[in-house]
């Protein structure tokens, strides 16, 4: 189906179901229960899951396939956001031109940075991208926000003001980002017994876009182009002596992943019309590296999982304060309750960074292939005796079956 083999089609269908049913899946606990703290099915977080999923999927095209570790990808995300907000300011709140502009501008920007950075490889490439991104951040945060030439609005972030021109704004359309009149913020809440589920227009727009770009990335992984990129990671020298020029391949991969990042940035702005410079900081670039590796670099679904995992942590664990802890352990005797709270306290709420750091270390040490590898190991445990595992990663190394008509 859709030019994919059976396995990829299954994967795509699974991802489709997961994203479409996310409002149910992410809200498994009744709204009033103590466990509701762990519900993640509210619009903002669901949007972030898919948007950062897009970001990580794009990053994976560069890092997972070619092995080039960019430490500056957040710059493209930030540029995309700025481009989108400028479209809102100058033309209209309709998200279509904004998202298109985000992709195009980020693409151009990545051509520029990629062309220079890809003259080097290995850690030098990483440092070059890092340097470019940090420069972009410094410029956006202060230099380009001076009153004479205010391109980014600096610390406060670029946003839409009432006196902005918006020359193509249609009368009667919402004064917020919208898709031909459908506000990105319209949400329908469905209460089923004790449960409550939110269906948000913005989320579904992001989800549909993610499905499209995820599908494209599957196609890319399975294409000759994707094969060449994996060959670059495996043995660049052999590739050159096989008559292929690795530079345009890496540049193309860099630009594609830059456009994915720009798309993510554009969507972020479309969901929430504000673009801040912190989005471009090197720690933000580090975050997408972490997402990709945590999920499983070079696998199809890994980056999406990694993105979801980290965003879940950032938004859910950071909100668990002592009050919440006490309410969880209220059933215990007083001394025990305080003891449990003291034990858990350093790892949640304001200590969520600590838990995240520990998790990274554990995953990198014990699961070099990321969460996907973890999943495979568990799966293998269950069918150890039934099937022979060839010992390689089926995500990464598809078995071509050219004689089977699809």
């Amino acid at each position: 189906m859709l030019g994919l083999n059976r396995k990829d089609t299954t994967l795509l269908i699974v991802v489709f179901l997961l994203t479409m049913l996310a409002p149910f899946l992410l809200n498994p606990f009744p709204a009033d229960s103590a466990m509701a703290q762990f519900n993640a099915g509210y619009p903002d977080l669901m949007q972030r899951f898919v948007i950062f999923g897009i970001f990580a999927v794009g990053f994976n095209i560069l890092f997972g396939l070619t092995g080039y570790l960019s430490f500056g990808h957040a710059a493209f995300l930030g540029v995309g956001s700025y481009a989108a907000v400028w479209m809102f300011k100058l033309f209209t709140f309709n998200v279509v031109p904004a998202i298109a502009a985000a992709v195009v501008v980020a693409g151009l920007f990545s051509v520029l940075i990629g062309y220079v950075s890809l003259r080097r490889s290995g850690i030098y490439f990483s440092i070059l991208t890092l340097a470019f991104a940090q420069m972009s951040f410094a410029l956006a945060y202060s230099v380009l926000s001076n009153p004479k030439f205010n391109l980014t609005n600096g610390e406060t972030g670029l946003q839409v003001y009432a006196d902005d021109p918006q020359i193509f704004a249609v009368a009667g359309s919402p004064n917020l980002p919208h898709l031909f009149g459908l506000s990105m913020r319209s949400t329908y809440t469905m209460d089923v017994g004790a449960w409550s589920f939110d269906f948000n227009a913005g989320y579904y727009l992001c989800a549909v876009i993610m499905l499209v770009v995820f599908y494209l990335s599957v196609r890319l992984f399975r294409s000759p182009f994707g094969m060449m990129l994996r060959a670059i990671k495996s043995n660049q020298q052999r590739l050159n002596y096989t008559g292929l020029n690795s530079r345009p391949y890496t540049l193309a991969a860099f630009v594609i992943s830059g456009m994915y990042a720009g798309l993510a940035g554009g969507l972020l702005a479309a969901m929430d019309p504000l673009a801040g410079a912190e989005r471009m900081q090197w720690t933000a670039s580090g975050e997408v590296v972490l997402m990709t590796i945590l999920g499983g670099a070079g696998t199809l679904i890994g980056p999406v999982l990694g993105a979801g995992f980290i965003k879940y942590f950032e938004n859910i664990f950071s909100k668990i304060n002592d009050n919440v802890l006490h309410s969880w352990f209220a059933f215990l005797p007083d001394g025990m309750e305080d003891f449990m709270v003291t034990i858990i306290h350093p790892f949640v709420g304001k200590g969520w960074h600590l838990t995240l750091g520990l998790l990274f270390m554990l995953v990198v040490i014990f699961l070099p292939g990321g969460l996907v590898e973890g999943g495979q190991r568990i799966a293998r445990l269950f069918k150890r005796n039934t099937t022979q595992t060839p010992g390689n990663d089926p995500e990464h190394h598809p078995k071509p079956s050219p004689h089977v008509a699809e």
Binding site: F132, I293, M361, P368
Partner: protein, 343 residues
């Protein structure tokens, strides 16, 4: 002229910190081939050794002073450090006053210990893993270390003053024939510079003139051959990791009085020190030192009014600009050996 000299001094001073951190970083890279993102955290822990010693020395017992009241109107509790009670206010006070230099004695064993544990317990398993994995695991470690420090010491910077005898500034200008008040420089910054020079000289001397150092240098050049000679190079590399950690830690200990330590100071220096290492040449010790001082001086000059009016924002981007230019024109860095991670 005088402002020129002042900025040279500032540059050397900034450069001292860069050079010390980069030295350890490049040592670890050169010997073990590991990209250590937790190196900034080691610098931070060094600074907190000084904070800890200061806190230990000022551990106090409380006595109630009925004549005064605290903010709630209760009788004021006056705190007297135990050391002052035990050794008399004079010697005890001096101990507290000199806590930063004294912390060197605490920091060396602590840092070497942390270095050993880190290398044996974690880094060792990553020699054969890709650089990306090394970066990630050490980055995770850096986060964990800084969160632990934050948990115990808070997020606010903690003032760790230099000994009062070394406080204040001296007028260097008058010594070399300028008018008074033209070139004034803080004493502790000069101390820091000389301290850095001593450490750098010590590390170079150690590598140059001891058999241990010779083996390590040989190992940096060709690990396998040295291994074939039947020398246990791994154990020596572990010790080198300890030394690198100690160098970063000592840089941190003495840095406290310059700018009050906080839990994220390591991250602030991390990106910068990598730039220094790359500009100097991955794995090149003299390169790291040279690049450290060079970037310190460049940064100082970029922050002058003259520079910022000529090119607005140059002080924000100078370091990265230099890194990009060096990497594109001379990928092996200023003093890197040909072929080491080149292309």
């Amino acid at each position: 002229m005088d402002s020129f000299l002042l900025q040279i001094l500032n540059g050397l001073d900034k450069g001292s910190a860069y050079a010390l951190i980069a030295l350890g970083l490049t040592l670890i890279f050169g010997t073990l081939g590991v990209v250590n993102f937790a190196h900034g955290a080691l610098f931070m822990i060094g600074a907190f050794c000084a904070v800890t010693l200061n806190k230990l020395l000022t551990l106090s017992f409380e006595t109630v002073d009925e004549t005064k009241t605290d903010f709630l109107g209760n009788p004021l509790k006056v705190e007297t450090p135990y050391v002052e009670a035990w050794f008399g206010p004079e010697f005890g006070g001096a101990l507290i006053d000199w806590s930063v230099p004294l912390a060197i004695l605490l920091a060396i064993p602590v840092m070497v210990g942390i270095g050993f544990v880190m290398e044996r317990g974690l880094i060792k398993h990553f020699y054969k893993r890709p650089h990306a994995d090394q970066i990630l695991v050490t980055f995770g470690l850096a986060i964990v270390l800084q969160e632990i420090i934050k948990y115990y010491f808070g997020a606010n910077p903690i003032q760790t003053p230099e000994p009062s005898a070394l406080r204040g500034s001296i007028d260097i200008g008058t010594m070399i024939g300028f008018e008074a008040n033209r070139i004034i420089y803080p004493i502790w910054r000069l101390v820091y510079f000389f301290f850095a020079m001593v450490i750098i000289a010590g590390v170079f001397g150690f590598l140059q003139f001891t058999t241990f150092g010779m083996v390590v240098r040989a190992g940096m050049a060709d690990r396998e051959t040295v291994g074939l000679l039947g020398i246990n190079i791994d154990r020596r590399f572990t010790i080198m990791f300890g030394i690198a950690a100690a160098v970063a830690g000592l840089a941190g200990v003495m840095y406290g009085p310059l700018n009050p330590p906080n839990y994220h100071m390591g991250m602030d220096f991390l990106v910068l020190s990598f730039v220094v290492v790359v500009v100097g040449g991955m794995g090149s010790l003299p390169g790291a030192v040279l690049a450290g001082f060079m970037l310190g001086i460049l940064e100082s000059f970029a922050s002058t009014t003259w520079a910022t009016t000529t090119i607005p924002g140059i002080n924000q981007i100078i370091i990265y600009l230099v890194a990009i230019i060096v990497l594109l024109t001379r990928p092996r860095g200023l003093m890197g050996r040909k072929g080491v991670m080149e292309e």
